[in-house]
Symmetry: C2
Subunit: 382 residues, 2 copies
């Protein structure tokens, strides 16, 4: 995928993954980037997360990020902190930058294993030599249990471009495999504005794939701007939201063992917080997910999942629709279960719930729960 | 199992379960019972729950409870409320009681299907004729997806006896199948004291099997006393706690598709609330559960699950032990993964976590996540 002006990406293999698959990626801009970061809420945070957060308040110029997959460099004590500093310094050297110029870091993979810094030191100069304006190798290099790359682009009327790249297993709790998202644009947008926009954008997209708070210690979503093309900010924001929600859906759809994308739309909530909480509760319910896997229009499980949240509901008027069929409205509705089950058999499942308690709406994305999820997660580590 | 003095139980089939398996149970005492109730926190509550709660403040004498399995009589609108009233009235008639004497109700099974009151009306007089001082038929009649009955008894030095009977699938969210627990004793204990004791007792036992708040609309745990044998109250409370925790473990062990009981002990928590929340978070984590299924000593997932909770932790001193082997203490510990994996292969798994943040302790019980869980829950309804 062609990148916005000013960005160069690369991806290659350094040998951290025993498989020999790509495991080292680089995003680089010769000119300083404006950037914004949203990071994990987990109390356990990997050194890459805390280091990037520490750089957030600094005035040093940021020129990109280096990413390894296969090892999360997390829960390694002080050694992990220094290994992460080395990782960044190796990238700065490989790119010929000065020590006051910043390269951010991200790591994803298994927790509690020492980062093999020597492998990174050997491979990074070679990977840096392959920097180009195509995103494919980078998108490949950051994957762990993902089955496919996740990329999306948009062109704005100003001629500016936005490219988003993500990885993540998108299951109930993100795997140690972590959710990472990198959005790049050449649209001119002040750093202050970027940082004002970003938290809400992440709330309405990436955070609606996972359970709130149950994020991996390495989760990060970042946006970078190379400041090349003057652009209408409202148009930029609109396109950015589409990009983020599309990536969120791609992550959900590629959930471990998943056979379908589940979209839960809540309407009639008291406020947006309750709407989002209710949507997440339904999409994370193992019983709803298993029913989705079996194409079972089991609205009782949906109702119970909503009932267990903080969301206000008017039970007498609450309505549930599955694939546009009303299955419950205050009382059970007559519907052809076999016909509806057939409609559920595709790769996308839409569940709509009107809480009948207010004006607010919210959406969450997830996937079905399959036997393969158990296989993958019973065997991933050892 | 022999019952405490004053109690008579029965169980039989009324045909609500298509399989012809037992689905109608009765607990009866000729003399009025002292009783206490803890019910679901779900906003959606079945009519049996709201009716029992309404009787809680009344001075009418309670003489037992009638239970059906196979149909939860939940989310059926007003019709469900009247069907539940009929259910209770039929039991009162079958037992030859007057209309001011109360029989409580409980239903468990599929949501949103009309309760077949005619079947109950036909079968209840026959079932009532079989009342005896043995618990087995009742324990059988209340099951849904359970693979075995759950009963336990204790004898007190006063000669009093406590018998507990429960049912439930005990998975992440209790299934529509619901968690029900009935504890009976002939120990003399004032109703006021029973009701003071009960909430804390349920907190430390049944509520530590399931995710807080994510309870089924029909969940109830009840204790009944026939007031026959003067007994030391402290001894009674101690035995009651053992009974409740044993039933909680039985529920977890019989979780849908489960091959092992997981016990999570938290020490070093700031307070008991945080200890219990952390224990529940670990035992409900799909990644921890899947790792347990694969006998994978994946302490990283345990650490991440703890980190996502509200619990205060001292990460530099936090310690994780799996089957008595220390795998993490501030930093990863050396251990023989293959040997530990072999130790995890039994039917019980012990995970101990010292948060190093205070004096409080807490325990939660759960089970592993298997392929069978998905099979059961993709096919249960249709």
């Amino acid at each position: 995928m062609k990148l916005p002006e000013g960005f160069q990406l690369a991806g290659g293999s350094c040998g951290i993954k025993g498989s020999g698959k790509p495991d080292l990626g680089l995003i680089y801009s010769a000119t300083p980037l404006n950037w914004a970061l949203a990071a994990t809420q987990n109390r356990l945070k990997a050194p890459c997360v805390t280091r990037n957060q520490a750089r957030y308040g600094s005035s040093q110029s940021v020129h990109g990020i280096v990413v390894n997959s296969g090892n999360a460099n997390c829960a390694n004590g002080e050694r992990g902190i220094w290994d992460n500093e080395d990782f960044a310094a190796i990238a700065v050297n490989a790119l010929g930058l000065s020590s006051v110029q910043v390269i951010l870091t991200a790591s994803t993979g298994v927790i509690g294993q020492k980062l093999e810094v020597d492998k990174l030191r050997q491979a990074l100069p070679l990977v840096a030599r392959d920097l180009s304006n195509d995103s494919s190798n980078f998108a490949e290099a950051i994957l762990t249990t993902d089955t496919r790359t996740k990329q999306i682009a948009a062109n704005l009327s100003s001629g500016a471009r936005i490219v988003g790249i993500a990885k993540g297993s998108g299951m109930i709790h993100p795997n140690m495999a972590t959710m990472l998202a990198f959005i790049m644009t050449d649209a001119v947008i002040p750093q202050e504005n970027l940082r004002t926009i970003w938290p809400g954008m992440v709330e309405r997209s990436f955070n609606q794939v996972t359970v709130d708070g149950d994020s991996s210690p390495n989760d990060m979503a970042m946006v970078f701007s190379s400041q090349q093309v003057p652009t209408n900010e409202a148009e930029f924001i609109e396109a950015l939201e589409v990009i983020c929600q599309n990536l969120a859906q791609k992550i959900a759809r590629d959930g471990e063992g998943a056979s379908k994308l589940i979209t839960v739309n809540i309407t009639g909530a008291k406020n947006r917080q309750e709407a989002r909480a209710a949507a997440r509760a339904v999409v994370r319910s193992p019983l709803v997910k298993a029913a989705a896997h079996g194409n079972d229009p089991n609205w009782g499980r949906i109702l119970v999942a909503v009932g267990a949240t903080i969301a206000s509901v008017d039970l007498a008027n609450l309505e549930i629709r599955i694939q546009n069929v009303t299955v419950y409205k205050g009382i059970p509705q007559d519907f052809d279960a076999q016909e509806l089950s057939a409609k559920m058999a595709g790769s996308e499942l839409l569940i709509e719930i009107d809480l009948a308690a207010g004006p607010a709406v919210g959406t969450a994305w997830g996937c079905d729960l399959s036997e393969d999820y158990v296989h993958i997660n019973a065997d991933y580590h050892t």
